[in-house]
């Protein structure tokens, strides 16, 4: 027993430790969102079973699961393969154009002045309205979707690369020069590393835009792909299967965004984690 009058009481078992917080307490950040999702699905399922809405207009989890099963035994895999291919090809074009062009516009002040207003204007335009044009140019097949992804995803990549290069810390370039770095060493040791966080941000935004582009492209005019499937199911009022398609899109997005976070940590381990990351 320690008393208030004794200074710095030392118990024979070492210093008094505060009790370890419980697992539940320590991992609140992890399990609270799980509870939210389970709660929503449970309430949704119960409401659906109470026949609160016309099954033609909306559906609920157990029926959507049946829709999901009918998709998996049906066209799902080939649809995902087509959509994935369109998305990947489009992203590769976007990166292939956006990265070098962004570096170029970021490096040259004159080119930046000349093109920045145009690039910014195009970036803030809802380029999705060009989808019909892409269909006219590239047809109903994967070409028009690849183009759609490319023209939407190229701008976030380009703008972030450009700003990344422009934001390179001048005092770091000066230090590198002072220690004898030549042009290539400055690129490699100063400019590229400082652009990495901007690149990842650009990539994240580009992926978001690219996914919208591919799905909307398929939705408007296509013969296969997940976007086409969603629309086809919706048109024949197969609401559960249509909603299953939507949920698949949600899951795919969540997975891709999680991968981006891993990539960011791998590429830029020096960055202090942003609050809440």
């Amino acid at each position: 027993m320690s008393t208030m009058t004794k200074p710095a009481p030392v118990s024979p078992g070492g210093p008094v430790r505060r009790p370890e917080p419980s697992w539940l307490k320590k991992n609140e950040k992890r399990w609270l969102p799980v509870v939210t999702v389970i709660g929503i699905f449970t309430a949704w399922e119960i409401a659906g079973n109470m026949n609160l809405w016309d099954p033609l207009f909306f559906s609920h989890p157990s029926v959507i699961w049946d829709g999901f099963l009918s998709l998996t035994t049906g066209p799902l895999l080939s649809d995902l393969r087509v959509t994935g291919l369109e998305f990947l090809l489009g992203m590769m074009i976007a990166l292939g154009i956006g990265v070098p062009l962004g570096i170029l516009l970021g490096t040259s002040k004159r080119l930046y002045w000349a093109f920045d207003p145009v690039v910014t204007a195009l970036y803030s335009t809802p380029i999705l309205v060009l989808t019909p044009l892409m269909v006219i140019w590239f047809g109903l097949g994967i070409g028009s979707k690849v183009a759609n992804v490319a023209i939407l995803a190229v701008f976030p990549v380009l703008i972030n690369m450009m700003e990344g290069v422009r934001n390179t810390d001048g005092s770091l370039m000066r230090a590198a020069k002072s220690f004898g770095a030549n042009g290539w060493a400055i690129q490699k040791d100063v400019i590229f590393p400082s652009v990495v966080p901007f690149f990842v941000t650009g990539l994240r935004l580009a992926i978001g835009k690219g996914m919208i582009a591919v799905v909307v492209g398929e939705y408007i005019a296509a013969t296969e792909g997940i976007g086409y499937r969603i629309r086809a199911d919706a048109e024949v009022f197969n609401t559960p299967r249509y909603l299953a398609g939507v949920l698949i899109m949600v899951v795919v997005s969540v997975i891709i965004m999680a991968l981006i976070k891993v990539l960011e940590r791998k590429l830029a381990p020096w960055r202090t984690p942003v609050l809440g990351e």
Binding site: S171, L172, R174, A175, A176, K177, S178, F179, G180, A181, N182, A185, D189, V190, P193, S194, V196, A268, P269, W270, T272
Partner: protein, 265 residues
């Protein structure tokens, strides 16, 4: 009198300006090899500009700067700089930051030898435990230790320091001053040290050059000599030299202030 082969830096009637504004006006200085020279003056007097002239960042409009008898461009490998804001690469660990200069300059050494040199200097600034940490993981004082290790690791004949302790708190600055003096004493390097701290200049230097308000010229040249610290006269001598310098520095600072107030509408 030392011969010219002992001259580390020779500044000969240098004038420099941006546009119409004259920053440095007809400056002539000789720095002897092994000397610790401080440049002190009111803000905006051009002391950092003069230092970056020694690092080849700006060139004089008139006059010449020669380092060890050669041009500034030819002597890149003989000098190293310590920056006020540390200028460490955030994406490089302590070890990699110290290796930076070695990798660019000492291509004659093997990778292993460079690594050993880097380790040695990291050890000498007391950061062996932080080898693999990134700058954001260590304090400002430790970051500047890395900056100092990076400069010493390339074993330059001339060290240029631009207010290296200006961004640190008083206690950390004091600690680093002691360590820097120890390193300089051990290695006998020529040092040009820009500061706005009078005591720092008096305590560290063989010679203090006081600059005037813009356009910067050399107003005073003082060789701090207070005798041994234990002697009875030390404090007295220190104070009298400090008072003299402060008198002059104060008048320059007031000139700057009056000018700034004159510019206000």
């Amino acid at each position: 009198m030392p011969g010219t082969d002992n001259i580390a830096i020779s500044v000969d009637h240098v004038t420099f300006g941006y546009g119409k504004e004259v920053i440095l006006q007809d400056i002539s200085i000789d720095v002897v090899e092994g000397e610790f020279v401080s440049l002190i003056g009111p803000s905006g007097c051009g002391k950092s500009t003069l230092l970056s002239m020694f690092d080849g960042v700006v060139r004089p409009d008139v006059g010449t700067v020669r380092i060890f008898g050669s041009t500034v461009q030819e002597t890149l490998k003989q000098r190293a700089m310590v920056f006020q804001n540390f200028a460490l690469m955030p994406w490089k660990t302590v070890r990699e930051n110290v290796l930076l200069g070695l990798n660019y300059r000492r291509t004659d050494l093997s990778k292993k030898e460079r690594l050993e040199l880097a380790r040695e200097y990291i050890n000498r600034v007391g950061l062996t435990h932080a080898l693999d940490l990134y700058p954001h993981q260590i304090s400002g004082g430790m970051q500047q230790r890395v900056g100092i290790a990076r400069a010493f690791a390339v074993q330059p004949r001339l060290l240029l320091m631009d207010e290296p302790f200006g961004a640190l708190d008083a206690q950390n600055a004091e600690l680093l001053r002691e360590d820097l003096l120890k390193l300089v004493a051990e290695e006998r390097r020529t040092v040009v040290f820009v500061t706005h701290n009078l005591d720092e200049a008096l305590q560290m230097s063989d010679r203090v050059l006081l600059m005037t308000a813009r356009p910067g010229t050399i107003r005073d040249e003082v060789r701090p000599d207070f005798g041994p610290k234990t002697s009875a006269e030390y404090r007295e001598r220190y104070d009298s030299q400090r008072d003299l310098l402060w008198d002059h520095l104060k008048s320059e600072v007031l000139t700057v202030q009056a000018r700034e107030e004159g510019q206000k509408p």
